[in-house]
Symmetry: C2
Subunit: 233 residues, 2 copies
Amino acid sequence: MKKYEIIEDHFKKKIQSGDFPVDSLLPSEYDICARFSATRTTVRKALDELLREGYIKKEHGRGSRVIERIKTLGLPSVKGFSNAMKQEGDAVFTQEPIIQKWSDQQIFALSDKEGEGDCVYFQRLRLIDQKPVLVENNWYSGSMLELVRSEEFLDGSFFKTLSQRFHIDIIGVEQEIMAKSASAEIASMLTIQEGDPVLFIAVRYQTSLEDFHIYGSWFCNTEDFPIVSNTFS
Amino acid sequence: MKKYEIIEDHFKKKIQSGDFPVDSLLPSEYDICARFSATRTTVRKALDELLREGYIKKEHGRGSRVIERIKTLGLPSVKGFSNAMKQEGDAVFTQEPIIQKWSDQQIFALSDKEGEGDCVYFQRLRLIDQKPVLVENNWYSGSMLELVRSEEFLDGSFFKTLSQRFHIDIIGVEQEIMAKSASAEIASMLTIQEGDPVLFIAVRYQTSLEDFHIYGSWFCNTEDFPIVSNTFS
DNA sequence: AAGTGGTCTAGACCACGCG
DNA sequence: GCGTGGTCTAGACCACTTT
Protein backbone atom coordinates (compact mmCIF):
# COMPACT_ATOMS: atom_id res chain seq x y z
CA MET A 1 0.00 0.00 0.00
CA LYS A 2 1.26 3.44 -0.92
CA LYS A 3 2.32 5.69 1.88
CA TYR A 4 0.01 8.52 0.88
CA GLU A 5 -2.90 6.05 0.90
CA ILE A 6 -2.01 4.99 4.43
CA ILE A 7 -2.05 8.60 5.60
CA GLU A 8 -5.23 9.32 3.63
CA ASP A 9 -7.07 6.31 5.08
CA HIS A 10 -5.88 7.09 8.59
CA PHE A 11 -7.46 10.53 8.59
CA LYS A 12 -10.52 9.38 6.66
CA LYS A 13 -11.29 6.88 9.41
CA LYS A 14 -10.58 9.45 12.12
CA ILE A 15 -12.95 11.90 10.46
CA GLN A 16 -15.68 9.29 9.99
CA SER A 17 -15.43 8.13 13.59
CA GLY A 18 -15.74 11.67 14.87
CA ASP A 19 -12.22 11.97 16.25
CA PHE A 20 -11.95 14.97 13.97
CA PRO A 21 -15.43 16.50 13.97
CA VAL A 22 -16.69 18.98 11.39
CA ASP A 23 -14.96 22.38 11.70
CA SER A 24 -11.97 20.96 13.58
CA LEU A 25 -8.43 21.28 12.25
CA LEU A 26 -6.25 18.34 11.29
CA PRO A 27 -2.66 18.35 12.60
CA SER A 28 -0.34 20.59 10.59
CA GLU A 29 1.39 19.11 7.57
CA TYR A 30 4.70 19.17 9.41
CA ASP A 31 3.21 17.25 12.35
CA ILE A 32 1.81 14.64 10.00
CA CYS A 33 5.21 14.36 8.31
CA ALA A 34 6.83 13.60 11.65
CA ARG A 35 4.07 11.22 12.76
CA PHE A 36 4.34 9.11 9.58
CA SER A 37 8.03 9.64 8.78
CA ALA A 38 7.07 11.12 5.45
CA THR A 39 7.95 14.24 3.52
CA ARG A 40 5.59 17.08 2.82
CA THR A 41 5.17 16.03 -0.82
CA THR A 42 3.68 12.74 0.37
CA VAL A 43 1.57 14.27 3.12
CA ARG A 44 0.23 16.91 0.75
CA LYS A 45 -0.67 14.24 -1.79
CA ALA A 46 -2.72 12.50 0.92
CA LEU A 47 -4.42 15.73 1.96
CA ASP A 48 -5.08 16.60 -1.68
CA GLU A 49 -7.05 13.37 -1.98
CA LEU A 50 -9.09 14.20 1.13
CA LEU A 51 -9.69 17.62 -0.37
CA ARG A 52 -10.80 16.19 -3.70
CA GLU A 53 -13.17 13.77 -1.99
CA GLY A 54 -14.74 16.55 0.02
CA TYR A 55 -13.58 15.67 3.53
CA ILE A 56 -11.56 18.81 4.22
CA LYS A 57 -10.85 22.29 3.00
CA LYS A 58 -7.50 24.02 3.20
CA GLU A 59 -7.08 27.40 4.83
CA HIS A 60 -3.84 29.14 3.98
CA GLY A 61 -2.08 30.11 7.17
CA ARG A 62 -4.50 28.21 9.42
CA GLY A 63 -4.65 24.56 8.50
CA SER A 64 -6.82 21.79 7.04
CA ARG A 65 -10.38 22.00 8.30
CA VAL A 66 -12.90 19.15 8.34
CA ILE A 67 -16.09 19.99 6.44
CA GLU A 68 -19.59 18.57 6.08
CA ARG A 69 -19.35 16.05 3.28
CA ILE A 70 -22.98 15.68 2.18
CA LYS A 71 -22.78 18.44 -0.40
CA THR A 72 -20.47 16.41 -2.59
CA LEU A 73 -22.90 13.51 -3.04
CA GLY A 74 -23.79 14.24 -6.63
CA LEU A 75 -25.98 16.78 -8.26
CA PRO A 76 -29.40 16.99 -6.77
CA SER A 77 -29.80 19.36 -3.93
CA VAL A 78 -33.17 20.94 -3.62
CA LYS A 79 -33.18 24.71 -3.63
CA GLY A 80 -33.55 25.97 -0.11
CA PHE A 81 -32.74 22.63 1.49
CA SER A 82 -29.66 23.78 3.33
CA ASN A 83 -31.56 26.63 4.93
CA ALA A 84 -34.99 25.11 5.33
CA MET A 85 -33.84 21.67 6.44
CA LYS A 86 -32.04 22.86 9.53
CA GLN A 87 -35.09 22.58 11.79
CA GLU A 88 -36.57 19.23 12.75
CA GLY A 89 -39.52 17.67 11.00
CA ASP A 90 -37.73 17.79 7.67
CA ALA A 91 -38.44 14.17 6.84
CA VAL A 92 -41.24 11.77 7.75
CA PHE A 93 -41.03 8.00 7.44
CA THR A 94 -44.02 6.87 5.41
CA GLN A 95 -42.62 3.34 5.50
CA GLU A 96 -40.24 2.22 8.22
CA PRO A 97 -37.34 0.03 7.06
CA ILE A 98 -38.64 -3.49 6.36
CA ILE A 99 -37.29 -6.61 4.72
CA GLN A 100 -39.08 -7.59 1.55
CA LYS A 101 -38.57 -9.13 -1.86
CA TRP A 102 -36.86 -7.01 -4.50
CA SER A 103 -39.55 -5.31 -6.56
CA ASP A 104 -39.13 -4.24 -10.16
CA GLN A 105 -39.17 -0.58 -9.20
CA GLN A 106 -35.43 -0.11 -9.52
CA ILE A 107 -34.33 1.24 -12.86
CA PHE A 108 -30.79 0.00 -12.48
CA ALA A 109 -29.88 -3.67 -12.70
CA LEU A 110 -28.79 -5.42 -9.52
CA SER A 111 -25.44 -7.11 -9.24
CA ASP A 112 -25.59 -10.89 -8.93
CA LYS A 113 -24.51 -10.82 -5.30
CA GLU A 114 -27.22 -8.31 -4.35
CA GLY A 115 -29.97 -10.23 -6.10
CA GLU A 116 -29.37 -13.40 -4.08
CA GLY A 117 -31.35 -12.40 -0.98
CA ASP A 118 -34.11 -10.00 -0.01
CA CYS A 119 -33.82 -6.26 0.27
CA VAL A 120 -34.38 -3.60 2.87
CA TYR A 121 -36.87 -0.95 1.80
CA PHE A 122 -37.96 2.31 3.34
CA GLN A 123 -39.84 5.35 2.16
CA ARG A 124 -39.62 8.92 3.38
CA LEU A 125 -41.46 12.10 2.62
CA ARG A 126 -39.30 15.18 2.71
CA LEU A 127 -40.74 18.54 3.63
CA ILE A 128 -39.63 22.12 3.20
CA ASP A 129 -41.50 24.66 5.29
CA GLN A 130 -44.01 21.92 6.20
CA LYS A 131 -44.71 21.46 2.50
CA PRO A 132 -44.13 17.98 1.02
CA VAL A 133 -41.69 18.19 -1.87
CA LEU A 134 -40.11 14.78 -2.31
CA VAL A 135 -41.18 11.15 -2.01
CA GLU A 136 -38.07 9.07 -1.57
CA ASN A 137 -37.99 5.28 -2.02
CA ASN A 138 -34.84 3.47 -0.93
CA TRP A 139 -33.58 -0.07 -1.32
CA TYR A 140 -30.44 -1.95 -0.38
CA SER A 141 -29.36 -5.56 -0.22
CA GLY A 142 -30.47 -7.17 3.03
CA SER A 143 -27.93 -9.94 2.67
CA MET A 144 -25.03 -7.49 2.59
CA LEU A 145 -26.13 -5.08 5.31
CA GLU A 146 -28.46 -5.60 8.26
CA LEU A 147 -31.70 -3.70 8.55
CA VAL A 148 -31.03 -0.34 10.17
CA ARG A 149 -34.05 0.92 12.07
CA SER A 150 -35.15 4.50 11.57
CA GLU A 151 -34.44 5.32 15.24
CA GLU A 152 -30.82 4.38 14.64
CA PHE A 153 -30.31 6.94 11.86
CA LEU A 154 -27.64 9.37 13.08
CA ASP A 155 -29.06 12.89 12.82
CA GLY A 156 -31.80 11.37 10.65
CA SER A 157 -29.24 10.65 7.95
CA PHE A 158 -28.87 7.19 6.46
CA PHE A 159 -25.57 8.06 4.78
CA LYS A 160 -24.09 9.40 7.99
CA THR A 161 -25.06 6.14 9.69
CA LEU A 162 -23.48 4.13 6.90
CA SER A 163 -20.26 6.09 7.13
CA GLN A 164 -19.81 6.36 10.86
CA ARG A 165 -21.25 3.05 12.05
CA PHE A 166 -20.37 0.74 9.17
CA HIS A 167 -17.50 2.65 7.53
CA ILE A 168 -19.25 2.44 4.17
CA ASP A 169 -18.75 5.53 2.05
CA ILE A 170 -20.49 6.79 -1.06
CA ILE A 171 -17.98 6.95 -3.88
CA GLY A 172 -20.19 7.53 -6.89
CA VAL A 173 -23.68 8.29 -8.11
CA GLU A 174 -25.56 7.40 -11.26
CA GLN A 175 -28.85 9.06 -12.02
CA GLU A 176 -31.61 8.97 -14.58
CA ILE A 177 -33.89 11.94 -14.66
CA MET A 178 -37.31 12.11 -16.30
CA ALA A 179 -40.47 14.16 -16.22
CA LYS A 180 -43.54 12.09 -15.37
CA SER A 181 -47.20 12.55 -14.64
CA ALA A 182 -48.02 12.02 -10.98
CA SER A 183 -49.88 8.83 -10.11
CA ALA A 184 -52.81 9.09 -7.72
CA GLU A 185 -50.68 7.79 -4.86
CA ILE A 186 -47.75 10.13 -5.48
CA ALA A 187 -50.08 13.06 -6.07
CA SER A 188 -51.80 12.57 -2.73
CA MET A 189 -48.49 12.38 -0.89
CA LEU A 190 -47.22 15.55 -2.53
CA THR A 191 -50.64 17.23 -2.22
CA ILE A 192 -50.87 17.97 -5.93
CA GLN A 193 -53.30 16.88 -8.64
CA GLU A 194 -53.10 13.50 -10.30
CA GLY A 195 -51.45 13.98 -13.67
CA ASP A 196 -49.47 17.04 -12.63
CA PRO A 197 -45.86 16.95 -13.86
CA VAL A 198 -43.34 15.62 -11.34
CA LEU A 199 -39.64 15.08 -11.61
CA PHE A 200 -38.62 11.45 -11.36
CA ILE A 201 -35.04 10.57 -10.46
CA ALA A 202 -33.71 7.03 -10.33
CA VAL A 203 -30.49 6.88 -8.33
CA ARG A 204 -27.81 4.32 -7.79
CA TYR A 205 -25.14 5.06 -5.24
CA GLN A 206 -21.91 3.16 -5.55
CA THR A 207 -20.22 2.53 -2.20
CA SER A 208 -16.81 1.62 -0.89
CA LEU A 209 -18.16 -1.88 -0.17
CA GLU A 210 -17.79 -3.87 -3.36
CA ASP A 211 -21.03 -4.80 -5.13
CA PHE A 212 -23.08 -2.95 -2.52
CA HIS A 213 -25.30 -0.16 -3.83
CA ILE A 214 -28.07 2.02 -2.51
CA TYR A 215 -30.95 2.34 -4.95
CA GLY A 216 -33.42 5.16 -4.85
CA SER A 217 -36.36 6.50 -6.77
CA TRP A 218 -37.51 9.99 -6.06
CA PHE A 219 -40.65 11.88 -7.04
CA CYS A 220 -40.25 15.62 -6.69
CA ASN A 221 -42.73 18.44 -6.82
CA THR A 222 -40.51 21.06 -8.43
CA GLU A 223 -43.18 23.74 -8.66
CA ASP A 224 -41.87 25.73 -5.69
CA PHE A 225 -38.48 24.09 -5.18
CA PRO A 226 -36.59 23.28 -8.34
CA ILE A 227 -33.63 20.95 -8.21
CA VAL A 228 -30.40 22.92 -8.48
CA SER A 229 -26.91 21.87 -9.36
CA ASN A 230 -23.62 23.74 -9.46
CA THR A 231 -20.44 22.51 -11.01
CA PHE A 232 -17.35 24.65 -10.97
CA SER A 233 -13.80 23.78 -11.82
CA MET B 1 2.15 34.20 -12.17
CA LYS B 2 2.99 30.80 -10.77
CA LYS B 3 5.19 28.60 -12.87
CA TYR B 4 2.74 25.70 -12.91
CA GLU B 5 0.04 28.08 -14.15
CA ILE B 6 2.29 29.20 -16.99
CA ILE B 7 2.84 25.59 -18.05
CA GLU B 8 -0.85 24.77 -17.58
CA ASP B 9 -2.00 27.74 -19.68
CA HIS B 10 0.57 27.00 -22.36
CA PHE B 11 -0.78 23.52 -23.00
CA LYS B 12 -4.40 24.57 -22.54
CA LYS B 13 -4.00 27.06 -25.39
CA LYS B 14 -2.16 24.53 -27.52
CA ILE B 15 -4.94 22.00 -26.99
CA GLN B 16 -7.67 24.54 -27.72
CA SER B 17 -5.99 25.71 -30.89
CA GLY B 18 -5.64 22.18 -32.17
CA ASP B 19 -1.84 21.98 -31.94
CA PHE B 20 -2.48 18.95 -29.74
CA PRO B 21 -5.61 17.36 -31.16
CA VAL B 22 -7.75 14.85 -29.33
CA ASP B 23 -5.96 11.51 -28.87
CA SER B 24 -2.50 12.99 -29.34
CA LEU B 25 0.17 12.76 -26.66
CA LEU B 26 1.68 15.77 -24.92
CA PRO B 27 5.49 15.87 -24.60
CA SER B 28 6.82 13.69 -21.80
CA GLU B 29 7.09 15.20 -18.34
CA TYR B 30 10.87 15.23 -18.63
CA ASP B 31 10.68 17.12 -21.95
CA ILE B 32 8.36 19.68 -20.41
CA CYS B 33 10.74 20.05 -17.47
CA ALA B 34 13.58 20.88 -19.84
CA ARG B 35 11.46 23.17 -21.99
CA PHE B 36 10.32 25.28 -19.02
CA SER B 37 13.37 24.86 -16.76
CA ALA B 38 11.14 23.32 -14.11
CA THR B 39 11.24 20.21 -11.97
CA ARG B 40 8.88 17.30 -12.28
CA THR B 41 6.94 18.33 -9.19
CA THR B 42 5.99 21.57 -10.88
CA VAL B 43 5.27 20.01 -14.25
CA ARG B 44 3.15 17.31 -12.63
CA LYS B 45 1.18 19.95 -10.73
CA ALA B 46 0.39 21.65 -14.04
CA LEU B 47 -0.61 18.37 -15.69
CA ASP B 48 -2.72 17.46 -12.64
CA GLU B 49 -4.73 20.62 -13.21
CA LEU B 50 -5.25 19.77 -16.87
CA LEU B 51 -6.33 16.31 -15.74
CA ARG B 52 -8.75 17.70 -13.18
CA GLU B 53 -10.28 20.07 -15.73
CA GLY B 54 -10.80 17.26 -18.20
CA TYR B 55 -8.29 18.19 -20.90
CA ILE B 56 -6.09 15.12 -20.68
CA LYS B 57 -5.86 11.65 -19.25
CA LYS B 58 -2.67 10.01 -18.03
CA GLU B 59 -1.51 6.66 -19.31
CA HIS B 60 1.14 5.00 -17.19
CA GLY B 61 4.12 4.13 -19.37
CA ARG B 62 2.78 5.97 -22.42
CA GLY B 63 2.13 9.60 -21.67
CA SER B 64 -0.52 12.30 -21.26
CA ARG B 65 -3.23 11.99 -23.88
CA VAL B 66 -5.58 14.78 -24.97
CA ILE B 67 -9.23 13.82 -24.56
CA GLU B 68 -12.62 15.14 -25.70
CA ARG B 69 -13.64 17.66 -23.10
CA ILE B 70 -17.40 17.90 -23.64
CA LYS B 71 -18.17 15.23 -21.09
CA THR B 72 -17.04 17.41 -18.23
CA LEU B 73 -19.48 20.23 -18.94
CA GLY B 74 -21.81 19.46 -16.08
CA LEU B 75 -24.43 16.85 -15.61
CA PRO B 76 -26.84 16.63 -18.43
CA SER B 77 -25.96 14.24 -21.15
CA VAL B 78 -28.85 12.58 -22.81
CA LYS B 79 -28.78 8.81 -22.79
CA GLY B 80 -27.66 7.55 -26.17
CA PHE B 81 -26.33 10.92 -27.30
CA SER B 82 -22.74 9.83 -27.70
CA ASN B 83 -23.76 6.91 -29.87
CA ALA B 84 -26.75 8.30 -31.68
CA MET B 85 -25.36 11.79 -32.27
CA LYS B 86 -22.41 10.65 -34.32
CA GLN B 87 -24.23 10.86 -37.63
CA GLU B 88 -25.23 14.18 -39.14
CA GLY B 89 -28.64 15.72 -38.75
CA ASP B 90 -28.39 15.66 -34.98
CA ALA B 91 -29.45 19.27 -34.55
CA VAL B 92 -31.65 21.62 -36.57
CA PHE B 93 -31.65 25.39 -36.23
CA THR B 94 -35.25 26.47 -35.63
CA GLN B 95 -34.00 30.01 -35.14
CA GLU B 96 -30.73 31.19 -36.63
CA PRO B 97 -28.61 33.42 -34.37
CA ILE B 98 -30.15 36.89 -34.30
CA ILE B 99 -29.66 40.04 -32.27
CA GLN B 100 -32.66 40.99 -30.15
CA LYS B 101 -33.66 42.53 -26.84
CA TRP B 102 -33.17 40.42 -23.72
CA SER B 103 -36.45 38.67 -22.98
CA ASP B 104 -37.55 37.59 -19.53
CA GLN B 105 -37.11 33.94 -20.37
CA GLN B 106 -33.85 33.54 -18.53
CA ILE B 107 -34.21 32.19 -14.99
CA PHE B 108 -30.86 33.52 -13.88
CA ALA B 109 -30.18 37.19 -13.32
CA LEU B 110 -27.91 38.99 -15.77
CA SER B 111 -24.78 40.74 -14.64
CA ASP B 112 -24.86 44.53 -15.01
CA LYS B 113 -22.36 44.47 -17.84
CA GLU B 114 -24.36 41.92 -19.81
CA GLY B 115 -27.65 43.77 -19.39
CA GLU B 116 -26.32 46.96 -21.01
CA GLY B 117 -26.81 45.92 -24.63
CA ASP B 118 -28.85 43.48 -26.66
CA CYS B 119 -28.40 39.74 -26.77
CA VAL B 120 -27.75 37.09 -29.34
CA TYR B 121 -30.41 34.38 -29.41
CA PHE B 122 -30.69 31.10 -31.23
CA GLN B 123 -32.83 28.03 -30.95
CA ARG B 124 -32.04 24.48 -31.93
CA LEU B 125 -33.99 21.25 -31.99
CA ARG B 126 -31.93 18.22 -31.14
CA LEU B 127 -32.78 14.84 -32.57
CA ILE B 128 -31.91 11.28 -31.70
CA ASP B 129 -32.68 8.71 -34.40
CA GLN B 130 -34.61 11.39 -36.28
CA LYS B 131 -36.82 11.84 -33.21
CA PRO B 132 -36.98 15.33 -31.63
CA VAL B 133 -35.97 15.15 -27.97
CA LEU B 134 -34.78 18.58 -26.94
CA VAL B 135 -35.69 22.19 -27.68
CA GLU B 136 -32.72 24.33 -26.79
CA ASN B 137 -32.90 28.12 -26.36
CA ASN B 138 -29.62 29.99 -26.04
CA TRP B 139 -28.71 33.55 -25.17
CA TYR B 140 -25.50 35.48 -24.74
CA SER B 141 -24.52 39.12 -24.44
CA GLY B 142 -24.21 40.74 -27.87
CA SER B 143 -22.11 43.56 -26.50
CA MET B 144 -19.48 41.16 -25.19
CA LEU B 145 -19.27 38.73 -28.11
CA GLU B 146 -20.14 39.22 -31.75
CA LEU B 147 -22.94 37.26 -33.39
CA VAL B 148 -21.59 33.93 -34.56
CA ARG B 149 -23.51 32.62 -37.55
CA SER B 150 -24.65 29.02 -37.53
CA GLU B 151 -22.47 28.22 -40.54
CA GLU B 152 -19.44 29.22 -38.50
CA PHE B 153 -20.09 26.66 -35.73
CA LEU B 154 -17.13 24.28 -35.72
CA ASP B 155 -18.46 20.75 -36.08
CA GLY B 156 -21.87 22.18 -35.24
CA SER B 157 -20.71 22.97 -31.72
CA PHE B 158 -21.06 26.42 -30.23
CA PHE B 159 -18.74 25.60 -27.32
CA LYS B 160 -16.04 24.29 -29.61
CA THR B 161 -16.26 27.54 -31.57
CA LEU B 162 -16.03 29.59 -28.38
CA SER B 163 -12.98 27.67 -27.24
CA GLN B 164 -10.99 27.42 -30.45
CA ARG B 165 -11.85 30.70 -32.14
CA PHE B 166 -12.32 33.02 -29.16
CA HIS B 167 -10.36 31.16 -26.46
CA ILE B 168 -13.36 31.33 -24.15
CA ASP B 169 -13.75 28.24 -21.98
CA ILE B 170 -16.60 26.96 -19.88
CA ILE B 171 -15.48 26.84 -16.28
CA GLY B 172 -18.74 26.21 -14.45
CA VAL B 173 -22.40 25.39 -14.81
CA GLU B 174 -25.46 26.22 -12.73
CA GLN B 175 -28.72 24.49 -13.40
CA GLU B 176 -32.29 24.51 -12.24
CA ILE B 177 -34.34 21.50 -13.13
CA MET B 178 -38.12 21.26 -13.08
CA ALA B 179 -40.91 19.14 -14.45
CA LYS B 180 -43.39 21.15 -16.52
CA SER B 181 -46.39 20.60 -18.72
CA ALA B 182 -45.62 21.14 -22.39
CA SER B 183 -47.02 24.29 -23.97
CA ALA B 184 -48.69 23.98 -27.37
CA GLU B 185 -45.57 25.35 -29.08
CA ILE B 186 -43.13 23.07 -27.29
CA ALA B 187 -45.44 20.08 -27.72
CA SER B 188 -45.61 20.55 -31.47
CA MET B 189 -41.83 20.83 -31.76
CA LEU B 190 -41.31 17.67 -29.72
CA THR B 191 -44.26 15.92 -31.42
CA ILE B 192 -45.97 15.16 -28.14
CA GLN B 193 -49.35 16.17 -26.73
CA GLU B 194 -49.92 19.56 -25.14
CA GLY B 195 -49.82 19.09 -21.37
CA ASP B 196 -47.52 16.08 -21.47
CA PRO B 197 -44.76 16.24 -18.84
CA VAL B 198 -41.46 17.63 -20.07
CA LEU B 199 -38.22 18.25 -18.28
CA PHE B 200 -37.28 21.91 -18.10
CA ILE B 201 -33.67 22.87 -17.42
CA ALA B 202 -32.46 26.42 -16.98
CA VAL B 203 -28.71 26.64 -17.47
CA ARG B 204 -26.11 29.27 -16.86
CA TYR B 205 -22.60 28.59 -18.05
CA GLN B 206 -19.83 30.55 -16.45
CA THR B 207 -16.91 31.23 -18.77
CA SER B 208 -13.28 32.18 -18.53
CA LEU B 209 -14.25 35.67 -19.77
CA GLU B 210 -15.31 37.67 -16.74
CA ASP B 211 -19.01 38.52 -16.50
CA PHE B 212 -19.74 36.65 -19.70
CA HIS B 213 -22.24 33.81 -19.43
CA ILE B 214 -24.15 31.57 -21.77
CA TYR B 215 -27.79 31.19 -20.78
CA GLY B 216 -29.93 28.30 -21.86
CA SER B 217 -33.38 26.92 -21.35
CA TRP B 218 -34.09 23.41 -22.45
CA PHE B 219 -37.30 21.47 -22.88
CA CYS B 220 -36.72 17.73 -23.00
CA ASN B 221 -38.96 14.86 -23.92
CA THR B 222 -37.56 12.29 -21.50
CA GLU B 223 -40.03 9.55 -22.40
CA ASP B 224 -37.58 7.59 -24.53
CA PHE B 225 -34.30 9.29 -23.61
CA PRO B 226 -33.92 10.13 -19.94
CA ILE B 227 -31.22 12.52 -18.82
CA VAL B 228 -28.36 10.64 -17.21
CA SER B 229 -25.59 11.75 -14.95
CA ASN B 230 -22.60 9.95 -13.48
CA THR B 231 -20.37 11.24 -10.74
CA PHE B 232 -17.50 9.21 -9.46
CA SER B 233 -14.69 10.15 -7.18
C1' DA C 1 16.64 -1.82 -22.92
C1' DA C 2 14.73 2.59 -23.24
C1' DG C 3 11.16 5.76 -22.24
C1' DT C 4 7.15 6.96 -19.79
C1' DG C 5 4.37 8.21 -15.66
C1' DG C 6 3.96 7.13 -10.21
C1' DT C 7 5.91 7.57 -5.72
C1' DC C 8 9.02 9.50 -2.45
C1' DT C 9 12.92 11.99 -0.09
C1' DA C 10 15.24 16.31 1.82
C1' DG C 11 15.51 20.31 1.61
C1' DA C 12 14.33 25.83 0.51
C1' DC C 13 11.71 30.13 0.31
C1' DC C 14 7.24 32.58 0.06
C1' DA C 15 2.34 34.17 1.47
C1' DC C 16 -1.16 34.18 4.84
C1' DG C 17 -3.35 34.37 9.73
C1' DC C 18 -2.91 35.46 14.35
C1' DG C 19 -1.29 36.89 18.77
C1' DG D 1 7.38 36.59 15.11
C1' DC D 2 5.82 32.25 14.57
C1' DG D 3 3.19 28.58 12.71
C1' DT D 4 0.52 27.41 8.84
C1' DG D 5 -0.19 26.01 3.98
C1' DG D 6 1.64 27.10 -1.17
C1' DT D 7 5.33 26.76 -4.44
C1' DC D 8 9.58 24.92 -6.11
C1' DT D 9 14.17 22.54 -6.63
C1' DA D 10 17.23 18.30 -7.36
C1' DG D 11 17.41 14.10 -7.14
C1' DA D 12 16.16 8.76 -6.52
C1' DC D 13 13.78 4.44 -7.39
C1' DC D 14 9.70 1.85 -8.99
C1' DA D 15 5.92 0.19 -12.32
C1' DC D 16 4.22 0.08 -16.80
C1' DT D 17 4.50 0.18 -22.08
C1' DT D 18 6.86 -0.30 -26.21
C1' DT D 19 10.64 -1.71 -29.28
